[in-house]
């Protein structure tokens, strides 16, 4: 398994408090990996650590190269797109402006224009609202916008923080179908943080279960799904 | 065995600490009382100004340090107090003592009145509004319609009062002791206020305004009253200043006066009663000191003190944001900890040798 991203002994700190206690995580190239766990397990912190948004220690390798000392704004230039929890859309800017910002670091104008059309192809509703202020979009539409903005980077790795949060099940299903399509058609590797274990396991090929900052279970989704404790606590049966 | 170790260091430190503190206070009293007899008349008035600034800073500190309301315009209250004292004594023949007190009361009313709209304003906005007040003050004082009372651009001259009961003191010395007396009273009042329920309410409003409200603290009343009290202190200082200096004029109450007061509480340390003394010494003497540096460097001398002031301010905020008092507290804390751990080591050795012999 060729790892696009891997961590060794990843630790993260909010001020003086340590919240991640030495994690070893790997995201397979071209695959989808899920990070599961309850509220407060540290899943969001993992993504923040990878995006250099919190103080972190330990080894992080992307495409085989160590990426330890990067600033948050340089992570995007590596080809890692992070859709934060709460979507992080620029609510006062239009849909189109949000998308253009996603491509901020790119120099290839023509390709950017194409990618804009491709985003609209995946999410026709965004095309309808391209001139609207992002803050006026519904929750589902904002999530679509957030994902599209991340895709405008032409990322190698897409990190999503709780994409299903606050959305109606039908909308979530739509979005996850599109994510699968994007993964297969564009070969974008994904790391998805989800509280909804069922959903995540149906999309991802590999999963890690976090509890209070440490990994307790990891393995292929089928194995994780079959695990007794996971079934009882996180899948509800 | 271990209980003894915990108890002893505390008891060892206490009588020493108390003796030190009493000693420092005694020395302080000697200096304060003896000063006007060894210093020249000019220097004595300078120290009177230090005491006056200390009173003003006490007031501003109450508002900004303990209650968290930023005021960049306290010079306005200094002006009201100064002008009130001058007008009362010069135009209305009121004795200087009552004149200063009435000035203080007027300032309380003015401060309370300003505090009412200020309730709506948080940090930066209040700073902005008071900044505007400071900028507008000299112009307001020069308003032609009030010329008959304020003396217009020239201002008003006051005569320095002499010592009562034919005490053998010069005017400067008498004024100095008057200021010290007022300061002592106000310091005593402030210390008691801070340590009372009211003081705790003020601090609660500063740090957790919403929580304070839910606990039944009437934040609005406290905040406006604090504004009033703070203005009153500064007004009394202004009144005393008009006596010490001998005149009031619009341009002596400009923006830079208000800024000096802010510098004073920051240098001394916010929320520190004793820090205001350091702050007052700073704002009285540093401009003078900077003056003598600039004498060497050429004309436009009056410019440099303020440039140095500004640089010092920024450095202070960077290196010692808690001011003199805060830094002192940190140092004292560090010294005490080192004392305690070395006492522990001594006791450990004693215990060990004790074990061996028994």
């Amino acid at each position: 398994m060729a790892a696009l991203l891997e961590t060794q002994g990843l630790r993260a700190f909010y001020g003086a408090t340590q919240v991640l206690h030495g994690l070893d995580i790997a995201v397979e190239k071209g695959g989808i990996t899920a990070l599961l766990g309850a509220n407060g397990a540290g899943k969001t912190t993992v993504l923040r650590a990878l995006s250099a948004m919190v103080r972190r220690e330990g080894l992080i390798r992307f495409e085989g190269n160590a990426v330890n000392a990067r600033e948050a704004e340089e992570v995007a230039r590596l080809g890692i797109a992070h859709v934060p929890d709460g979507r992080g859309t620029f609510v006062d800017l239009t849909v189109e402006q949000n998308l253009h910002l996603g491509a901020y670091t790119r120099r290839d104008r023509g390709a950017v224009a194409n990618d804009l059309e491709r985003a609209f192809a995946y999410f026709p509703r965004l095309k309808e609202r391209r001139g609207q202020q992002a803050g006026t979009l519904s929750g589902g539409e904002q999530q679509m916008l957030a994902i599209s903005r991340a895709l405008m980077l032409r990322p190698k790795l897409l990190m999503l923080d709780e994409p299903s949060f606050g959305l109606a099940p039908l909308v979530v299903n739509d979005i996850f179908k599109i994510l699968k399509a994007i993964n297969e058609e564009e070969s974008v590797s994904m790391l998805i943080v989800e509280q909804n274990a069922n959903l995540a396991l149906s999309l991802a090929g590999y999963a890690y279960l976090l509890e209070t900052g440490s990994i307790v279970i990891s393995g292929p989704s089928s194995a994780v799904r079959a695990d007794e404790s996971v079934r009882r606590v996180y899948l509800g049966y | 065995m271990s209980e003894a170790r915990v108890a002893s260091p505390e008891r060892v430190a206490e009588p020493e600490g108390r003796a030190l503190r009493l000693g420092a206070i005694a020395v302080g009293i000697v200096i304060v009382v003896g000063l006007p007899f060894v210093a020249s008349g000019y220097h004595t008035s300078q120290f009177s100004q230090v005491v006056i600034y200390a009173i003003a800073l006490l007031g501003l500190n109450l508002l900004t340090g303990y209650n968290g309301q930023i005021s960049l315009g306290h010079g306005a209250f200094f002006a009201i107090g100064g002008y009130a004292t001058a007008i009362l004594s010069v135009k209305l023949g009121v004795a200087y003592g009552p004149a200063v007190v009435i000035g203080g009361i007027l300032c309380f009313a003015a401060g309370f009145a300003f505090g009412l709209p200020a309730l709506r304003l948080g940090g930066l906005y209040l700073a902005l509004a008071t900044f505007a007040l400071a900028l507008a003050t000299p112009q307001l004082l020069k308003f032609k319609a009030f010329d008959a009372w304020t003396g217009g651009v020239q201002g008003l001259l006051l005569s320095k009062p002499g010592a009562p009961l034919s005490l053998p003191l010069t005017r400067d010395q008498w004024l100095y002791f008057l200021c010290v007396f007022c300061a002592a009273l106000l310091f005593w009042a402030t210390v008691n206020l801070i340590n009372s329920r009211i003081g705790r309410a003020l601090i609660a409003i500063r740090d957790h305004p919403i929580a304070a409200e839910t606990m039944g603290v009437d934040a609005a009343l406290y905040k406006t009253t604090t504004f009033g009290v703070s203005a009153a202190y500064t007004g009394i200082a202004g009144g005393l200043s008009s006596l010490v200096v001998g005149f009031v004029s619009p341009d002596s109450f400009d923006l830079f006066l208000s800024l000096s007061l802010v510098v004073g509480i920051v240098v001394g340390g916010l929320a520190s009663v004793w820090g205001v003394i350091v702050g007052a010494l700073f704002i009285e003497f540093v401009p003078n000191y900077a003056d003598s540096i600039s004498d060497v460097l050429g004309e436009n001398a009056k410019a440099l003190p303020w440039a140095i002031y500004g640089v010092l301010l920024i450095l202070l905020m960077y290196a010692a944001p808690s001011g003199a008092a805060g830094t002192a507290k940190i140092l004292i804390g560090a010294i005490q900890r080192r004392r305690r751990s070395s006492t522990n080591v001594a006791l450990d050795r004693k215990a060990a040798s004790g074990d061996q012999t028994s």
Binding site: - | L259, W306, G310
Partner: protein, 290 residues
């Protein structure tokens, strides 16, 4: 009637200067939630630089543009080496730093250029070729220059990628970083722009109020009043507010309170807006989450 029209027109002229100051103040406020109390003194200092260049023989517009460049770099440097160090400091500490800056610029100008009042030439002719209209050429010129500046800034923020990135950085620095925007860079550029716009205000004001280190105090106050009136988080509202304040000041000065205490009008506007409608005429009402 003619008097009133004249008051309004010259109110707009002085208002154009306030509009520039208001715009500069709001630009920094939007990006950092800080009020730059030293904005006036920075503008004054820039104007002295222009004066020095003209004294050295430079033609007016060359001096004008060189001063803009200087001010831009000065603003960037201040953000990069001073303000950024106080990113996480409490409000009062930052206010003190601004006051320190105010004081340093003021005294530096006094030391380097002396306190004697100097005259600063206007690039516009003394009189109109076609006889005296309702305003002087300088007044008209100020309005035109200001509108030009406002148009350029509007175009920059509305239509360029850099402008878009700066808006994003100001609104949501976290998300901006995630798309690769160097937020600190954007802050520095914002400060540079604000300083340059302030310099325009200073250079337009100097022919009217004469060049001296304390010239911008009152103007800054009116700039604040305009910014608050228009809405401190809305740059265009703030600029409009500046124009309105200019007109109000003139009318109040001529018909209501008299010329000498016009500053109290600014004070009244500031306190009035803050108490009655803190978000100003065109700003957004902010709801604080408890």
């Amino acid at each position: 009637m003619i008097g009133l029209v004249h008051q309004i027109l010259s109110g707009l002229a002085i208002g154009s200067i306030y509009a520039c100051v208001a715009l500069a103040v709001v630009m920094i406020y939007q990006a950092t939630h800080l009020v730059n109390f030293a904005q006036g003194e920075m503008a004054m200092f820039s104007t002295y630089i222009a004066w020095a260049l003209i004294q050295a023989g430079a033609p007016y517009w060359a001096a004008f543009f060189l001063t803009l460049v200087f001010s831009f770099l000065m603003g960037m440097a201040i953000e990069r080496w001073l303000i950024r160090r106080f990113e996480k400091a409490p409000v009062l500490a930052v206010v003190i730093v601004f006051i320190g800056m105010l004081v340093i610029f003021n005294s530096l100008a006094g030391w380097l250029f002396s306190y004697t009042i100097k005259s600063f030439e206007s690039p516009f002719p003394e009189k109109f070729a076609l006889g005296n209209g309702f305003m002087s050429p300088h007044e008209l010129g100020s309005i035109v220059v200001t509108l030009g500046v406002l148009a350029l800034v509007y175009a920059f923020f509305g239509f360029t990628p850099l402008g878009l990135a700066m808006r994003a950085a100001a609104q949501n620095p976290v998300s901006a970083r995630l798309v690769g925007v160097k937020v600190n860079h954007m802050l520095a550029i914002g400060w540079g722009l604000a300083a340059a716009i302030g310099a325009v205000a200073g250079m337009m004001a100097a022919p009217i109020v004469y060049l001296d280190p304390n010239m911008m105090g009152g103007i800054l106050l009116y700039g604040f009043a305009g910014a608050l009136l228009g809405g401190i988080d809305n740059p265009w509202g703030a600029a409009l507010g500046g124009f309105i304040v200019g007109v109000l000041e003139n009318i109040a000065g001529a018909y209501l309170v008299g010329e000498e205490i016009k500053l109290s009008v600014a004070l009244a506007i500031i306190v009035g807006v803050l108490v009655a409608k803190p978000s100003g005429l065109f700003g957004r009402v902010l709801v604080t989450r408890v």
